[in-house]
Symmetry: C2
Amino acid sequence: MSKKISIAIDAMGGDNSPNKIIEGIKLFLKKKSSHDDFILNIFGKEDEIKKKIKELNISQNNINIFNSDKVISNEESPLTAIKNSKNTSMWDCLQHQADGKSDISLSAGNTGVLLVISRMILKMMEGVSKPALAGLWPNDKGLNVVLDLGANIDCNDQNLIDFAILGAALFKSLFPNIEPVVSLLNIGSEEIKGTEILKKTSQQLRNSVNKKNFTYNGYIEGNEITNGKSNVIVSDGFTGNVALKTAEGTAKFITNNLKKSLTENLLSKISLLFSYFALKKFKEKLDPRKYNGAILLGLNGPVVKSHGGIDSIGFYHSLDLCYRIIKGNLMSEIKKNLNISKVE
Amino acid sequence: MSKKISIAIDAMGGDNSPNKIIEGIKLFLKKKSSHDDFILNIFGKEDEIKKKIKELNISQNNINIFNSDKVISNEESPLTAIKNSKNTSMWDCLQHQADGKSDISLSAGNTGVLLVISRMILKMMEGVSKPALAGLWPNDKGLNVVLDLGANIDCNDQNLIDFAILGAALFKSLFPNIEPVVSLLNIGSEEIKGTEILKKTSQQLRNSVNKKNFTYNGYIEGNEITNGKSNVIVSDGFTGNVALKTAEGTAKFITNNLKKSLTENLLSKISLLFSYFALKKFKEKLDPRKYNGAILLGLNGPVVKSHGGIDSIGFYHSLDLCYRIIKGNLMSEIKKNLNISKVE
């Protein structure tokens, strides 16, 4: 690729910003020290950003800093967001992207506001009925893309088909050598199961989707999300959000119980000496920071939302995700999928 | 209680029946050897049942055996169930209960058929709009009741309010000394979050529910199911089923990864010697067999569905659940809740 990957970063969103953002950027620059194929456009309070960059001894190659005086508060409601968010660091990122100067935006700020103003500034992509928020989810073979995670409570069959197209394109951009296999999240695997909307979606995916771009694998139940037989899992935003949060809660519940068991007496504490490396590897594989970053798809350009409470390592992973998405040509993958699926 | 607790057991449902059923009954009788407050009414192929009872040396005190020649197949569809299920062991259990000779029915057979014929034979309870399938779910403080787990895909506000009433009564019957705290499963905790149906339900629960029988705690997200702040979690059957299955899948995914990590090299294998008892306790706490048994509520009598693939220990737990539900006067708890909540 001759053109550099250009990422707009909101340095002010989330807890402990801009410090953790700049620390995450430092980590990214270190890992990419042999690459010269990207530009980071950092938006926020210039003085604070520059101070932190100096403190951390970060080289300013591949970095542009843009001053944005205002910051969106975490308490801001999506209803008043448009009025109150002009000239904030988040808004300026999206405007930079809309002007064609960045390929993707990344923010750890207020999710509701980000969804609303992204849609307003970047606008819907032609041929897509609704945007969707996608996430990465570990499975037995690697990673799933799961969407929608909460951008849309009510979805019709056309929305779900669009999510399949968007999700398959995202998967392809991240894992170019693996075929996307799409499934619909349902409460049974038989064709008669589920809502009328799911039945209509399933039938249309079976009948009309060009098999070259992704395979459609039918319905799966919640316990099959992690088995690796599908890698793009489609759902309305209500169900997807409940599934994601329930999985997060269950993971935390189990690992907390494990921790308690392994530290409750001397014998079990001794065992930790021997299992240290095994448990460390286990913990690393399931570290939620590795999966940080929800991707808003369906607009004229992707937007990544980092978790607001995550640390610099988590922020690094969401920045790396931005890089990989653009490197994998997400937007042209989406266009390819849309064009093929519209010609029936 | 002077009247004995009378449980109708379908001996033929699920895998490896009647053997695992009779083995589960043996375990129950052993644990209850000092009790004489129950009768088990066992339905199925009399010869097979008697043979197994003899083989296991089970005393026939507190046991009645009833011959049912037919068994419902696992492939039977709910649509043809009524025609094909007459005089099966499952049907005969429910008829025994409807005739007032058993207080509760227990089956490990076909779930769809059990839901359909239970409703037909036992009939809806007066004042309840829809029946619901409830399950037990471990949390940081003990156990939750979660419902509906899949009996109803579409639910309106009245259905969800009924589920709150039914779930709180079930919790009270199982844990008489703990106050039921009801929450609605949603995708955010603010009042503006979620579907219109959830908003209407929440408002009505806040306004009209008599606080004496349960507390209403507002919305929770999926990651709060296990935190123990609520103990009765209400949802439509689609969302509830996805949440339950996702939690099961996540638990399995994590424990499989843990197992893999702890057995991958000599050092980690040595650690197992030291952590054996700690890990055993951890495993026992999360053993899904302990939570076996979904409870169908809202009919003129409760029905418990055991997992079809579970072993005799799992079946024992669902039988013990039946005993505890009746011992805790579930039906009068439901009537109490219904009466209070109807008088506004």
